[in-house]
């Protein structure tokens, strides 16, 4: 090939050589740097400066590494939850709690008689198909077992029946096997023993029939940070076979239910934790599931966020069976009608809350001394302990709780003991036993299984499931 006549490099050639290379290489570098120094950009690794140096000094590969490895799809500073917990920026006084939070419109004195978000949820859910009146249980497990390598038993012989239409609380200390159970029931893990059905569909199948009947919210829901809220719901709706107008309508309804209508066009990477949780509920509801599995749906939320989520859950009664794992017992008492308590992979007890309280709650007396009495709590507790009728005595910074075997004997005996201890009481009452009392008692009594093959390691808990 003869290039002898063309040995000099003329300006046109230089332009031909340099312009595209400069455009591509320098352009890519500056684009990467621009992207990096976006105010809310989050990067993997320690610092933006480190990535800036890599982009600037590592020829070509630097910007590439940044786009492929360093750039986090989600943004750093989460956008504040300006939805105020519900659609249209309005806060609301939930039906779950009695504390009424007036709407923004009300605060501003606008006098707008807009329907409350709670009403909107109820209105939308009323148009959704109700659960069929059937005797078929929503969830049934028979000897469901999950063992891991090394003999670790995460779930042992779980026999459970969850009635259709119930809001079912699945309780247990950390590591009890709650999440394992949920993963088995939703098909994310495979049982090593036993069987189960959800909405009449056997678990462990691959036909998608189970997925079409359930919704699932992970305990720490994470989504694609680059997606917008509406896009995620669209995608999940399409996976469930929704298209066109039906999809648009369903996504709109779900956004309204979870109070994200105004944030639907924002990137999920900028959502706050509460918004992500609500989006998680939304994606789980998009197919109008017969059974909704929620893994610790409120554990990471602030009180307002908890109230929002619990409001949705309570409104789903009659529309879906809700199976929620949690260790926040107050929430369970608020919304659930049945509970099961799991400990060390074993089912301890299961039934309606009222029945459990009747059966397992010990009568309890609360004694609250007047302030400014040093040692009063200890003296009261000491006076009660050792009495034949006192099953247990617990103290708090302000009061003494005395669990008794027979209130007919204990009632008349307590006050003379208080008088003898020389403590002045501010309050004395027979308290209503709580689910927490029942839970703590049953978990403590159940303890680890007798001669377990291997106990499930539970970080932060002692051998009896207590912190």
């Amino acid at each position: 090939m003869d290039f002898s006549k063309n040995n000099s490099i003329d300006p046109a050639t230089i332009a031909l050589v340099l312009v595209p290379i400069l455009l591509l290489q320098v352009g890519l570098m500056f684009y990467a740097l621009y992207d990096l120094f976006q105010e809310d950009r989050r990067v993997r690794g320690d610092s933006k400066i480190m990535w800036a140096l890599i982009i600037f000094f590592v020829n070509l590969l630097g910007p590439l590494l940044y786009f492929f490895v360093g750039r986090d799809a989600s943004r750093g500073a989460a956008v504040p939850d300006t939805t105020g917990g519900w659609a249209g920026g309005a806060g609301w006084g939930g039906a779950v709690t009695s504390g009424a939070a007036p709407s923004v419109a009300g605060d501003l004195g606008l006098g707008v008689a807009a329907p409350s978000p709670a009403d909107s949820i109820a209105r939308i859910l009323a148009t959704w198909p109700a659960l069929p009146q059937t005797a078929e249980a929503a969830v049934v497990t028979v000897g469901l077992t999950k063992r891991y390598g090394g003999g670790i038993v995460a779930l042992d012989n779980l026999n459970l029946t969850v009635p259709s239409g119930s809001i079912f609380g699945f309780l247990g200390p950390n590591g009890a096997g709650k999440t394992t159970t949920l993963r088995l029931l939703t098909g994310l893990a495979t049982a090593t023993g036993g069987s189960g059905t959800v909405a009449g569909v056997p678990i462990g199948g691959t036909t998608g029939e189970l997925a079409r009947n359930i919704g699932y919210l992970d305990q720490d829901p994470r989504f694609y940070g680059w997606m917008r809220g509406r896009e995620l719901l669209n995608m999940v709706g399409q996976l469930h076979g929704l298209h066109g107008a039906a999809l648009r309508q369903r996504v709109g309804e779900v956004l309204e239910i979870v109070g994200l209508t105004d944030a639907a066009r924002r990137r999920i990477g900028g959502y706050s934790g509460g918004m992500r949780q609500r989006l998680g509920i939304g994606q789980a509801l998009i197919n109008q599931p017969r059974v909704l599995f929620l893994d610790e749906p409120v554990s990471s939320l602030d009180p307002e966020g908890r109230r929002d989520i619990l409001e949705i859950i309570s409104k789903l009664r009659g529309t879906a069976t809700v199976f929620m794992s949690t260790h926040i017992l107050n929430d369970v008492e608020r919304v659930c009608d049945r509970v099961a308590i799991l400990n060390f992979g074993h089912l301890v007890v299961e039934g309606p809350i009222d029945e459990l309280l009747d059966r397992y709650a010990q009568p309890v007396y609360e004694l609250e001394p007047e302030p400014q009495q040093p040692g009063a709590i200890d003296r009261l507790a000491a006076a009660m302990r050792g009495q034949a009728w006192a099953a247990d005595v617990k103290t708090t910074p302000d009061s003494v709780r005395v669990f008794v075997n027979d209130p007919r004997v204990a009632g008349p005996a307590i006050l003379p003991l208080v008088v003898a201890s020389g403590v002045n009481l501010a309050r004395y009452e027979r308290a209503r036993p709580s689910l927490e009392d029942v839970f703590l008692r049953l978990v403590a009594e159940s303890g680890p299984p007798i001669a377990p093959p291997v106990t499930v390691p539970v970080w932060g808990l002692d051998g009896r499931g207590r912190r």
């Binding site: 090939m1 050639t13 492929f68 799809a73 994310l188 997925a211 699932y216």
Partner: protein, 256 residues
């Protein structure tokens, strides 16, 4: 495959939104251009430097179509493999680690569709980038050299190189499925690259390795007889579905 279409759209949109698509195309175009440029002007640049400094002379072969072809092929395959590893390394591992895989797979979407959408989306990105990169290489060769590669052979080279990258993508996808770490997945891809390189030097099985597709690709590009390539091509065509099958078997019962 249940949910494949929806998941493929999601994967392609992710490539676009995260700028990976643009970045890969930029790399391929850059090296498509740099290949013929390097060969065409390297000797002149070295000669000029040598003359100006009055120092030693470095013997650089003059520009030729062979040299341009080698440069294009070398650049695109080397950086193409890096791009394939970077695209595939976190594709499954990050989704498992973040929990998004669990979210998707509790919907009516099969695990095969989940994996296939990723493999196809990455292959599409690499295919578009390869088309643009080799297209730019062809145009620059046309501008800088008095003759140009035969178009049919050039297209065949681009297809072979693309399929080689798809094979490395499939290997890295397998690595990404085996582990929850993207770095480990990339390591598996790199180990495969080394192993294929070593096996490629062996007499009987050597020509069948993905990394050995470069030799016939170069000959096809230059319009020369590439010899018997049907066997290696068919083997590599079958390798990708086979690797995908193994990946699916691993992922099918994996706990998420």
């Amino acid at each position: 495959m249940m949910g494949f279409r929806v998941l493929l759209v999601k994967e392609l949109r992710e490539q676009l939104r995260t700028n990976r698509f643009i970045a890969v195309i930029a790399v391929f175009v850059l090296f498509g251009i740099v290949g013929p440029l390097t060969d065409r002007y390297m000797k002149e640049l070295i000669d000029a430097i040598g003359t100006q400094s009055g120092g030693f002379a470095i013997q650089i072969p003059g520009p030729s179509l062979d040299g341009a072809a080698t440069q294009i092929l070398k650049n695109l395959s080397q950086f193409g493999i890096i791009c394939a590893l970077l695209l595939a390394m976190g594709s499954v591992a990050w989704e498992k680690d973040r929990g998004t895989a669990g979210m998707i797979l509790t919907k009516p979407a099969s695990r095969a569709a989940f994996l296939a959408a990723k493999l196809v989306a990455i292959s599409v990105t690499l295919g578009v980038a390869m088309a643009l990169g080799t297209g730019c290489g062809y145009v620059y060769t046309l501008l800088l050299y008095p003759s140009v590669f035969p178009l049919g052979g050039y297209v065949a080279m681009a297809l072979l190189m693309w399929w080689m990258l798809v094979a490395f993508t499939a290997i890295t996808l397998l690595g990404s499925t085996l582990t929850r770490s993207a770095i480990a997945a990339a390591g598996i891809g790199l180990v495969a690259l080394v192993v294929f390189g070593i096996l490629g030097a062996l007499p009987v099985i050597g020509p069948y390795m993905p990394s050995s597709l470069g030799d016939p690709a170069l000959k096809l590009m230059l319009g020369q007889d590439a010899g018997w390539i049907l066997g290696p091509v068919l083997f590599n065509l079958a390798l990708v579905p086979a690797l995908f099958g193994v990946t699916w078997l691993v992922f099918r019962r994996q706990e998420l």
